[in-house]
């Protein structure tokens, strides 16, 4: 018998029943909830007179709609009445069903994908779901984690299971050493540039190779977070010492003899040597440069040293037209240098890049500098209340504020404009988030995805700059 991949192991460990046609009932160990995709699920539960199957696996926090400015007034201080109702609805549902929730002013509140790992609520070997596509983030812990829709949120609440079909296995192996100034964000943007936004559709992607091993847990989360931008619902990284060190001692993590038992089991959460993947993609770490997206899809990405593509040079008509449309929307000229793109705003935050390490990287770049006078705004939004406290303890907030940046309360913020943080029409933003779709950060807004260090450098220059040149100064 050939060996199993990490994904095969996680799948087999959670199989409740399997039908002849391959559809299966998969047991869910952790269900994370936020305010946007849960109200209709709770309503469905009520209408059918059902109760949650198992309360202790659910953990909720509001993140999309909360303002990132002063919130001492609590939920009632959310200015938009519709946003306020949505957050209140989550509070009411969690209270009435007895689900643990980190409410808006709880220091543990934050973006659900930052909160789960930070609390140790995401553990190796778990199945983790959430009504949010960036649930892929949690795969960094060798957990089988993916986004689900609202009907499935209701299904998981009611049955603790999900009807699922096994995906195919893909290995993306990043070999060699990453260059200076090249971060996890650049790795994943480069990968999406190579395989495309549909390259991973139908697959669970395991990220492996020595370059991935060398990346911190925070960085691995950044990479798995964007697996969905490559079309894959699931991104995975095998367990190693970094995983164990990160999890140990967190509030929801196992303790004492349970910890010893868990660690023994988790050591097996790697793909077997002889496991067979349906597809293997080889990436040389040395080829990866700091990346900037120029278009309206994450695959429209280029090294910072490059130019915006020229549609005239693209043979495929669908692709050519897509490029033309993207350039029109983004207000860019063919062959324009990436470093000539002027910025209006900078956003450092989102479930991709708002953990402490991201903020440290950005702070190291802005320290002692001032944000360009041409910039309208540079926002720094920590991923959770605990990240915020940690950053303040390290004095990072002061560095940002002295540079002329705004230091905010935790939430999704300008990643998607469901709260007051938005781009104006036509504005260019260097953003550490994960999606550059049309209108994503505000109606008519133009998003360029980059790493925290690249965003910080761009904030100082007012346009994109190659971070490797900054570090040399």
């Amino acid at each position: 018998m050939t060996g199993k991949t990490l994904y095969d192991k996680l799948w087999d460990d959670h199989l409740v029943t399997e039908n002849a046609d391959g559809s299966a009932l998969l047991y869910i160990d952790r269900h994370l909830l936020h305010e946007v995709t849960s109200p209709q699920a709770f309503e469905g539960l009520r209408l059918a007179g059902r109760q949650p199957w198992r309360l202790d696996t659910n953990l909720a926090t509001p993140d999309h709609n909360v303002q990132t400015t002063d919130r001492s007034g609590g939920v009632d201080s959310i200015a938009d009445p519709i946003s306020r109702i949505q957050v209140k609805t989550l509070d009411e549902n969690c209270d009435s069903f007895g689900i643990t929730e980190f409410k808006m002013n709880d220091p543990r509140q934050g973006i659900v994908h930052v909160v789960g790992p930070e609390q140790g609520a995401t553990l190796p070997g778990m199945t983790v779901v959430c009504g949010d596509s960036h649930t892929a983030t949690h795969g960094a812990f060798a957990a089988l984690a993916h986004g689900i829709g609202t009907s499935e949120v209701e299904h998981v609440l009611a049955t603790q299971c999900l009807i699922a079909k096994k995906m195919k296995n893909m290995l993306i192996r990043v070999s060699g050493q990453l260059g200076a100034g090249v971060t996890a964000k650049d790795v994943v943007l480069h990968i999406i540039g190579v395989i495309g936004t549909a390259g991973g559709t139908g697959y669970a992607i395991e990220f492996g190779g020595d370059a991935i091993r060398s990346i911190s847990m925070e960085g691995r989360m950044t990479i798995c977070n964007m697996a969905i931008e490559a079309g894959a619902r699931v991104g995975l990284v095998a367990v190693d010492d970094k995983t164990l060190d990160y999890v140990k001692g967190r509030p929801f993590a196992p303790k004492d003899e349970h910890w010893e038992q868990a660690v023994a089991a988790w050591k097996d959460l790697v793909s077997d040597e002889d496991a067979v993947f349906d597809q293997v993609v080889e990436i040389a770490a040395a080829d990866i440069q700091p990346q900037v997206t120029w278009g309206t899809s994450p695959e429209m990405v280029a090294p910072v040293t490059a130019q915006v593509p020229d549609p005239a040079e693209i043979a495929d008509p669908v692709k050519r037209e897509g490029t033309e449309r993207a350039l029109r929307y983004m207000g860019l000229q063919p062959r324009q240098k990436i470093t000539d793109i002027r910025l209006d705003r900078v956003f450092i935050g989102s479930c991709t890049n708002s953990r402490i390490e991201d903020l440290r990287e950005a702070a190291a770049v802005v320290k002692g500098h001032k944000v360009a006078s041409t910039l309208k705004q540079a926002l720094v939004v920590p991923g959770s209340g605990l990240v915020k406290m940690q950053a303040e303890a390290e004095g990072l907030d002061k560095i940002f504020i002295e540079a002329g940046m705004e230091w905010r309360e935790p939430g999704c913020s300008m990643c998607l404009a469901m709260n007051p943080d938005k781009l104006g029409a036509g504005e260019h933003c260097a953003s550490t988030s994960n999606r550059n779709f049309e209108g994503r950060q505000g109606f008519g807004g133009r998003t360029h995805l980059v790493s925290p260090a690249m965003a910080a450098a761009a904030a100082i220059a007012g346009h994109f700059v190659d971070i490797r040149e900054i570090s040399r100064v």
Partner: protein, 212 residues
């Protein structure tokens, strides 16, 4: 869930690849705590010339005359013809809700994003996969003939063209069964309650830390 058996309707061609869920239903409309009423905001940024707000009367807003769903010939359409990787992006079920509320019952495209594909079935919306060249051909036919309609026979798993040609498609047996009968997944899963409890018992012994 609404049943899907046989459907015939006008086809609207949305000629772009990678249509994402932010495009299908922009984020400001996700603030609703309801499941219905998203139809007027389907493709909001493409469909109207101004920026849409939740709870607004859309009948007074300026329409984009170039957008396919605004063209007189496609009024009343219920089948959407699309390009590859339709529905990429977020997990928001508001995307199929908006399509369904607008009146779309089936989509035909060469490929879909996984979560969107899955969500569609839960809402009685049938996403059909056809080969890229067949989809290309359909785009040409729809554009050439005003009032072009397609018939979709789920039982027989085929799309029937006006000239009677039948294009077969694949569909997972379980999903087909649920759609044909309008079945609720949760009820079906709860029939396995004993198996779920047995799993929990076994798992509790193997991995007690998952239950503490």
């Amino acid at each position: 869930m609404k049943k899907f058996t046989l459907h015939e309707g006008i086809v609207a061609p949305l000629d772009r690849a990678n249509v994402d869920t932010d495009m299908i239903i922009p984020k400001q409309f996700l603030k609703s705590i309801k499941r219905s009423g998203f139809g007027p905001n389907l493709f909001d940024e493409l469909r109207y010339l101004d920026e849409g707000q939740p709870d607004q009367d859309c009948s007074q807003r300026p329409l984009n005359p170039d957008f396919v769903l605004n063209k007189p010939r496609y009024q009343g359409c219920s089948v959407l013809l699309a390009r590859k990787n339709f529905g990429c992006g977020s997990s928001r079920e508001h995307a199929p809700w908006a399509l369904e509320d607008f009146g779309i019952r089936a989509i035909i495209a060469p490929s879909y994003a996984d979560i969107f594909f899955n969500n569609s079935f839960k809402n009685g919306l049938l996403p059909i996969i056809l080969e890229e060249d067949l989809v290309d051909q359909l785009f040409r036919e729809v554009e050439a003939q005003e009032g072009y309609q397609l018939k979709i026979d789920l039982e027989q798993q085929c799309v029937i063209k006006p000239d009677g040609t039948s294009l077969p498609f694949e569909i997972d047996a379980f999903r087909k069964h649920c759609l044909l009968n309008g079945l609720d997944d949760i009820g079906l899963t709860l029939e396995h309650a004993d198996a779920i409890r047995a799993y929990e018992q076994r798992r509790r012994a193997e991995a007690p830390w998952m239950f503490s």
